[in-house]
Each structure stands twice: as structure tokens, then as C-alpha cells.
Amino acid sequence: MKKVSFIVVLLLLVALLGTACAAKPPAAPAAPAEQPAAPAEKAAEPFKVALVTPSAINDLAFSQSMYDTLVKMQSQMGSDKFQFAVSDSMFVVDDAAAAIRDYASQGYNLILAHGSQYGSALKEIAPDFPKVSFAWGTAGDNFGIPNVFAYEAFSQEGGYVFGVLAAALTKSDVIGVVGPVEVGDAKLYVDGFLSGVKASNPAITVNVNYTGSFGDVALASEAAQTHIGAGADVMTGSAQMVVGAVGVAKEKGVLWFGTQADQSSLAPKIVVASQVYDWENVVTTMIELNQAGTMGGQNFALSLKNGGLVLAYNPGYELPADVKALGDAAAKGIIDGTITIGVGGE
């Protein structure tokens, strides 16, 4: 019996590992375990990008924004020029570090460590692969290592514009914010949003809570209920857990502003607008620099000015023209520097 049980357990372990590995989406044209089909002529070797993210690529938020960008670039550039692979849901930093190292040793040209928790791992790995470009997001520090880029999003800019819009749209003068963890671009977005509301109408009450996690959908849902109970008729929030909050907003007819990805598909009638992260310029610039010989050492940011932050208005929601004008004016003010948000960089 012991021998049988040993074999069965071994088989189960293999099956488990197979399933866990299979969680990576095969949609990526080049899986890390196999070499991508190299073109016959040496002349055009595709530029290979690897993406390592802490949450799922279908999270309608942070990870999806970068994944969507890479998919878009792939279709524009063609798979003979550009290929990418993804390892998502790497919230355990050691797993991510192993993935990053794997990709680097398999000849990927640019590795996107798309999570602010990956910094220390990159610091260790990057010097071992001087011919590979690494990029750390979201962060503003490239450690001075010559083959590390850093990129971030000035999400406070879209936050500010949405704050202005929210202030104009609220009828109860109470707004609710469901935040994840009080760090990084979530905090920037929330602080920018608060700044926008205060600049438009200081009398409005903005209630903010942080759920302490990026993925606790149930807690986000209860938070939304509590905000609505406290009188909020407009809400916003950040991270993949907001699905819970949007569901409640949809049920109670409360307006929603989204960030990181276009969330209007979740609740077509109440999502007013979403701040979408379009990383294309950042990734394209990094690729160009890499091909020209600069492996790293530069920082990038998404902003309204460089088109990296896109304010996607939901066509399904009828935004009054005068309110939209206020939003546009705020965006313009941020771009030409006449408005100071007082939060984060630039």
C-alpha cells in the first residue's frame, strides 16, 4: 500500500504543478518553456518582451493595462518583429524573481517587472544580465543600475479630473472612495481625486477607506455599502477588488469613476469614466533605447500630457456637456501646468 500511495501522491503532485503552471495564459505567443519560432533569416530577430505581474491579466486593472498594451503592440508590429510572454499572478515575490531570472537567461530583450514589490528582486538580478533590459513599474527609482528602467503613472492627474467631475455630479454632496492599500499609484490616485474635489467645492464630504488588500472583493463590496449608507452618491476606487464596489454601485444606482483600465463594461449605466493606463509610448521608447544600445538608466511616467493616461468616458452614460467642460478644463490645466495638484511627481 505504501508504494502505491507514494506513486499516486507523486502523480498528484505532477498534476498540481501542471495545473499551476497552466495558469499562465497560453494566449502569449511565446511560452517561457520553449524557444519561440525564430524566423529563418537572421536579419529580423523579433524583439522579445517578458511581462511579470502580481495579479491576473484579466483583472480589469493594473496587470490588464500592461497586458492590453502588449497585445496592441503585437498586432501593430507583427509577430515577426515583436513577441511577448507573460507570467501573471506572481504575487509571491520569490516566484516573480525566479520568473524574471528565467526570462533573462532565455534571451528575452526586455523584462517588465510590473509590480512595485519587485524592486529588491530586480536589484539582485539585473547586474547578472547586463545585456538584458529590465523595467520596474510602478516606481521612480532605477537604482542607478545601467540596465534598469523605471516607470510609473501619475495617476493623481486623472484622479484630479475625476474629482472635479465627481464634485459637479454629486447631488448629496457626499462622495465615497474605496481604496486598496495606502501605497503607490492607488494612493496617488486617491490623493489626486481628493485634491480635485476640494478644489471644486470644499464643502463636499469625501469619505475614504482602505481595505488593506488589492484583492478582497467581499470587503470592497461591504465598504461600498457602508459609503452608500453614509450618503455617497458618487464613488471611485482602485485595484482589482473594485469589482465588488462597482457591483454594489450598480445595484444602488450610484455613479462610479474607474482607474487603471476601462471599467465601463462592468456597469454600463453608472460608470462615468475610467482613467486608462496606456503604456505603449513607455514600452516603445524602452524598446528603441534598448535597440540603440541604452539598456536602462531612465525613468518614464504616464501623464495626461504624454498621452499615457487616457480619460475614457463611457458612451453609455450621458455626461452633461457643462460638466464635461469642467473636466476638460481641469485636464488642460494639468497639462499646461496652470493647475497644481499638490500630490506626487510633476
Partner: protein, 309 residues
């Protein structure tokens, strides 16, 4: 400060707590059965995720709520059977195999989600069903009797579980197998049959716990929807001293403090968000420490039982 904690706020907090506690209750009561018979199943969270996805998929495709719930129960049952096979027949290390079941559930539910749906969206799940006369009672009405259908199920489960464990022969067998499987075996109780039953039942209830999230309370599915909820449910079994009534109390206290910390942040009390978020977990630790002296786990918990033939 007086007008902060008004009556309506308290009612809102209690209603919130009742809702939040629901998935914990299903999963923890299920785990109580398993642990009382001596099997530690750490895979609860993975089973919840598989149950959540199964239910969500059925409702997403067909809108059939009961069908979704049944599939979640079936999937949970099958995963419970798998855990029972590993722990009881193969006598593997229960802690490790439980983690294996968790990883399987986490990865498989995401794989299926990516293959079959791959788009975060909501469905129309079980509705809130106010109970005819009772929901009109002031204070108690909105808290206890105006809740989702699956919420009622979780609370009804508690007296049923208590009755089974304490007042039936089956319950006696379960408890005996968990305390002293050798003695139970000599008296003719089939240790493996009892453990198969309890662990599969635990899996079934965990599947329903997952469904309570994906097709009742949240009406959505995404990667790692439960976010570790299953592990807290296991902790609540310890918290409740392996007794259904105390598991209920533990779930309610934990959920109430969670609802309270949200509210504390929303009304802007000057408590840092990180501290507020910690409070339900700190409370759990404190209670576990205080109760460690008085409460004894089932003696055979997580010990493999081999019949000496």
C-alpha cells in the same frame, strides 16, 4: 461623537456583519465536521474557489441559480472526496496535502475562468429575500430578516450541524473517531467511512461557500476571488473550539469587527487605515491565545489512522 454611532449606523453595521460572515460560516461549519473526525483540510479556500467558479459559470451561461448552486456543491463534494482519498486512504500528511488541494483549486479555477469566460463581469445572482412578516420588525427586521437567500442558509446550518454532532449517533461516531479512532474501530465504527463522509461534507459546504460569493453576495468571479477567506474560516474552527455555536459566534465577531473597521475609516476617525484593517485579525489572535488553555482540539486531529491488520 454621539451622533456618529446612531441606531441606523449600528443596524447597518450588524447587517453588514451578517452578510460578511456568510461564506465563513459555510466553510467553517464544513471544516468543523472534518476536524471533529480528525482530518485537517487546509484546502478549503481552493474548494471555495472551484465552487465559486462552477456556480458562476452556470449562472453566466444559463441564468439557472439553483443549478449553479448544485454544481458548486457537487464540485465541492468531489474535491472533498479527493482530499479524503489523500488523507484517509493514502494516509498522506494532511497539512501538506491540504495546501496541495488549495493550490489546485486556485490554479484550476483561474485556468477555467481564462479559458471559458476571461472577462470580469457581473451576473444576476440570488436576490435579497425579505422574510414576509419578520422583516418588518424594527431593528431586527433589516438585520436578520432582509438578507440574501444564501445568507439564511448559512445561519440555518448552525443548529443543524449542532444537532447532528451532539444529538445523533452519527455525531457520536464522528466525535469518537476524532478523539480515539482505535477505540472506535474496535467498537465497529468504520473510521475511514466516517472520515470520508465528514471531509466530503466539508468540501460540499466549502463549494457552497464559494457560490455564496460568486452568485449571491458579490455576483462576480475573478482570479482568487476568496482572497484567503478559506484560511480564516479554518482559523475560526479553532476560534470556535470545534463547536458549531461558537464557530457562529466567532464568525460574527470577526465580521462585525471587519464591518466596524470599514465604518471607522468611512466616517473619518483618525485611525490609520493599516491599523484599522488589522483589528479583526488581532482580535482573532487574542481570542485564540486566551482560549488556548480551555479548549482542546480533537485528540486525533491531523493524525493519520492506520488499521493494524
Amino acid at each position: 461623537m454621539d451622533d456618529l454611532l446612531t441606531g441606523s449606523v449600528l443596524i447597518g453595521l450588524l447587517a453588514s456583519a451578517i452578510r460578511l460572515a456568510t461564506p465563513y460560516l459555510y466553510a467553517a461549519i464544513g471544516e468543523t465536521f472534518g476536524q471533529r473526525s480528525g482530518v485537517l483540510n487546509l484546502g478549503v479556500d481552493g474548494i471555495m474557489l472551484m465552487g465559486a467558479f462552477s456556480a458562476f459559470y452556470v449562472v453566466f451561461k444559463t441564468g439557472d441559480l439553483v443549478g449553479g448552486l448544485l454544481l458548486a456543491a457537487l464540485v465541492g463534494l468531489l474535491m472533498g472526496l479527493m482530499m479524503a482519498f489523500i488523507s484517509v486512504t493514502l494516509n498522506a500528511q494532511q497539512g501538506i496535502s491540504g495546501i496541495g488541494v488549495y493550490l489546485f483549486g486556485l490554479g484550476m479555477s483561474d485556468l477555467l475562468f481564462q479559458k471559458l469566460i476571461n472577462n470580469v463581469q457581473t451576473v444576476s445572482g440570488f436576490p435579497v429575500a425579505p422574510i414576509p412578516i419578520l422583516s418588518k420588525i424594527p431593528v431586527l427586521g433589516p438585520i436578520l430578516f432582509t438578507q440574501n437567500v444564501l445568507v439564511y442558509g448559512a445561519y440555518l446550518l448552525v443548529p443543524i450541524a449542532w444537532f447532528i454532532l451532539n444529538k445523533t449517533t452519527l455525531g457520536l461516531k464522528i466525535r469518537a473517531v476524532g478523539e480515539n479512532p482505535e477505540a472506535a474501530d474496535t467498537l465497529g465504527v468504520s473510521v475511514s467511512k466516517v472520515r470520508y463522509f465528514t471531509v466530503s461534507l466539508g468540501g460540499l459546504l466549502s463549494g457552497i461557500a464559494g457560490a455564496s460569493l460568486s452568485i449571491a453576495l458579490l455576483n462576480v468571479f475573478q482570479y482568487n476571488l476568496t482572497n484567503g477567506l478559506g484560511f480564516i474560516a479554518i482559523a475560526l474552527v479553532y476560534f470556535g473550539g470545534w463547536r458549531p455555536t461558537w464557530v457562529l459566534l466567532g464568525s460574527l465577531i470577526f465580521s462585525f469587527v471587519n464591518a466596524l473597521q470599514i465604518w471607522v475609516q468611512v466616517v473619518g476617525l483618525p485611525i490609520p487605515s493599516d491599523v484599522a484593517v488589522m483589528t479583526p485579525y488581532i482580535l482573532t489572535i487574542v481570542v485564540l491565545v486566551l482560549s488556548a488553555q480551555r479548549v482542546r482540539p480533537p485528540s486525533a486531529l491531523s493524525k493519520a489512522y492506520e488499521r493494524l491488520e
